[in-house]
Symmetry: C2
Subunit: 516 residues, 2 copies
């Protein structure tokens, strides 16, 4: 996921947009020349399914001929593209003898569906219990699901071709594909439950709301569906990051808070940039104080999102509780380490836990997970104010200014964002009131250490629109593979989720029996 | 609403498509040269609001700048057009002193919104009771709400410009307009209830399902949301018409049933067409057996739809219980009237109750209510199988053949219909199961004498998705102006509807109070 640039260094550092799952990848913005960097060394998640051999065992890859535009009928809307989806039917109970075992569908995010699949172990682990068919659908314009004959250069060339990249079209894709798949499997009566994390979680929740005839329920994990307009404070995102670090130590928090000025000042000295380069092991090709600060802040932001209780390799290879480790590096330095060294050790937790990286390339703009389309989405409908920083923020104070976004989008795509559209289409204002007596069967999971949790649904809306909160949880931690080291609260979250899903299925089967 | 043509005379006669509210208008189809005719003498409804002076008192006309394409972001999607809406705020209680009186919105159908407004007296009559603001929104591409600078010739010129005429875009228009209007009126907390009849009723129901954050409930009158794919039998529509006539007398039914052959045979005789012309008072310019049969069947179809218990002037000026009158003309003829004369007297009930028409012009293709866009909608998403006729049908036996539609649409618009799209987007299959535990606050009214009732929701889905049925009711009779002659069952239907709407508002206000 690409970062939307800012005008000022201060603001840039915490302008963490639309990453969700995901990352500041790459991409130089001519706008302010700030280049958040994603080290190419950490592309491959190290889980049991990380090799192509085991992926072959995990799922079969299929393609569906999808229509480009579901909502209009002009000739260009009839174009089609190949949408990728992954299927695991090994544990599925099927439809024999009038049984109708469930279908669990992951509503793909803004990136390669294989990556998300490999990071959604929860589904593989609960499938045996439910005898469920697993389907992971890739979001249009990502991974291998590229319109215009699969030619990404064409699809991403301009607003005319990118124009069909929207969440409404993606949801309609999912509905169309699921209905067709069920017909082909003669599984029309099998209940479908949708799952998703981050943007995929938003899609899962919205899918249940908009297509209740296709999915009987949704688990929306870390889905900040309220992070639009003024529903959630634009300071919320960075406040949570601040709190995450502050909870590990006041010294840690203050050291980072003061570091931005230190870096700025150091850079002004003769040989200051060389000092910074040496302290942070930046490669020879390029250095610049703003880019460095941005690179550092990126580490804090994504570590806050992935502050998991066990070692992980989602964005990067990371130890358990990485924020704690970052703060430890700052608060318990080795003898002789100066502040810059301490800071380096802290960001090293994020960028180089493997210890393999010799130097860091601030010009590395690789996008290993194919998240590039998010910039477009952020410039059209996904206008999510997240980058305000109040005086207490761990990042320099700044305000959210919609005009920055607007100007960026004008410059890069010659497009005008529609910042009010998502709430028009999906709601969000006074959600307790508007959904308190409407809809059913959605779980909103949020881990409160996740900066996106500020835009999530944190209170039950009704008896069956349920919020599950984990005080110590991070970004869709519930959807990850379990491990023997998982803390009790995480096991408990997953148990709750499984029980709730069971409680959606039982009445469905009861209704089904009554129909016949 | 335009008729979609058929290949055979028999089939054509009962192919009543997409008229809903509405009419076989006009338009020569080169395909089979059948021209259903709508006499231009009956354009103006005769109700208290029929003159332009009283319309001025009834509502103010306003325009809203609407975006052409809500779901995509290519440059052409940013085009705008002026959407007309009518407002009556004279009875509105407003928002003073933290009161939040309701807003009743009519979700416009496939035609001029003034016409529908004038035929939706129910809203004007209940507004004082609720102190409600009334808003009637015109559907895009109809009336004065024409994209492409209001130039209908351009907007209707080809599939590229017509492509944005879809129900999903219309619903998004309504959401966008309502939210903006509420902001402008500082009426954000005022509850909105949507109302609609026929296609407008489908839109009202779908609006509540898709935009529950905008409307707290919907009265969907005579909304055949189940008349898609194979959910409703394609024979249902004409079976109901058959039953309507048969219930008034077996002789009436049999006479009409045999008449198609009689007309065909008569036309074959020398001077046969002249005999038909004389019997049916057809003007000199044009006659043809197929066109005549079609013109006659049109009368039966629309009379079945508007078989109201009091005199009406919706489609045409008509007496109370017009089917009864039609059958009376057949069963109690004046001395000396032959069968053709009897048939003429019966269709005269529909075409010439005023007695003013001297001769009927089978080539009259006027479209007084601007319903022309329905043909396009019927060729894209509104593929509603209605024109099967079994052996008992009052019309000649025929089967529904999707390929007829497909071929017609190919020929006329070079467009491929998407017959499965509506059920993908809005559901419909097993509606009790899919909505039994989802959604709330919709009334589905159906009058069982209305041929469209076969595609309606006739059973309660849940405690608050309620079916109201009137055995003797016709097409959205509940939404019409009341009269002193209204039968008790109709008064009772309206009383029920008012009570249910009250029961949506009370909890809304309770929730609102609790929020503050």
């Amino acid at each position: 996921m690409q970062k939307i640039p800012h005008t000022k260094l201060n603001a840039t550092m915490n302008l963490i947009i639309f990453l969700f799952i995901t990352l500041y990848t790459s991409c130089v913005y001519s706008y302010n020349k700030i280049i958040p960097r994603f080290p190419s060394s950490i592309i491959h998640p190290e889980n049991p399914f990380s090799t192509s051999t085991s992926n072959n065992k995990l799922y079969k890859t299929k393609y569906f001929t999808q229509i480009l535009d579901h909502f209009n009928y002009n000739p260009q809307s009839y174009q089609t593209f190949q949408q990728r989806y992954l299927v695991n039917d090994k544990l599925w109970g099927g439809v024999a003898n009038s049984s109708n075992f469930p279908i669990f569908v992951y509503t793909g995010n803004e990136g390669d569906i294989e990556w998300f699949t490999q990071n959604t172990g929860f589904l593989f682990e609960i499938a045996p219990h439910f005898k469920a068919l697993l389907v992971f659908i890739e979001h249009r314009y990502y991974g291998k699901s590229i319109p215009y004959g699969g030619d990404k250069d064409v699809a991403y060339s301009n607003a005319s071709t990118l124009g069909y990249l929207s969440s409404e079209q993606a949801l309609a894709d999912y509905a169309t594909l699921i209905i067709d798949l069920k017909k082909n499997l003669t599984a029309i009566d099998c209940p479908v439950v949708v799952f998703g994390g981050s943007y995929g979680g938003m899609l899962a929740a919205w899918f249940r709301l908009k297509y209740p005839h296709v999915a009987i329920g949704a688990l929306a994990s870390s889905a900040p569906i309220l992070n639009f307009e003024n529903i959630t404070s634009p300071y919320s995102f960075n406040n949570i990051i601040t709190q995450d670090f502050r909870s590990e130590g006041e010294t840690c928090y203050k050291t980072i808070k003061r570091s931005w000025k230190l870096i700025e000042e150091t850079a002004k000295h003769p040989k200051g940039l060389e000092k910074l380069r040496k302290s942070f092991r930046i490669c020879k090709n390029y250095i610049n104080a703003e880019a460095l600060a941005n690179w550092i802040s990126t580490a804090y932001v994504y570590t806050a999102m992935t502050d998991y209780p066990t070692p992980s390799n989602f964005l990067n290879l990371m130890p358990a509780y990485p924020i704690k480790q970052m703060c430890k590096a700052i608060e318990d330095p080795r003898p002789g380490e100066d502040t810059l060294e301490k800071l380096y050790k802290s960001v090293n937790i994020y960028y180089n836990s493997s210890g393999n990286v010799k130097c860091f390339d601030l010009e590395d703009h690789s996008d290993p997970h194919g998240l590039g389309g998010w910039t477009w989405q952020a410039c059209t409908e996904m206008v999510m104010p997240t980058d305000g920083n109040n005086e207490d923020s761990i990042f320099p104070a700044s305000t959210w200014d919609y005009n920055d976004r607007r100007q960026y989008c004008k410059q890069n795509f010659n497009i005008e964002p529609r910042p009010n559209w998502i709430t028009t289409e999906f709601g969000g204002h006074n959600i307790e009131r508007s959904l308190g007596r409407f809809g059913s069967n959605i779980i909103f999971f949020n881990g409160l250490r996740d900066p996106w949790s500020g835009g999530g649904v944190l209170k039950n809306i009704s008896e069956s629109l349920i919020a599950i909160i984990a005080k110590e949880g991070a970004h869709h931690v519930d959807l990850r593979f379990s491990s023997n080291e998982d803390p009790e609260w995480l096991r408990d979250v997953r148990r709750q989720e499984i029980n709730i899903i069971k409680n959606w299925l039982s009445p469905y089967y009861k209704d089904l029996l009554e129909t016949f």
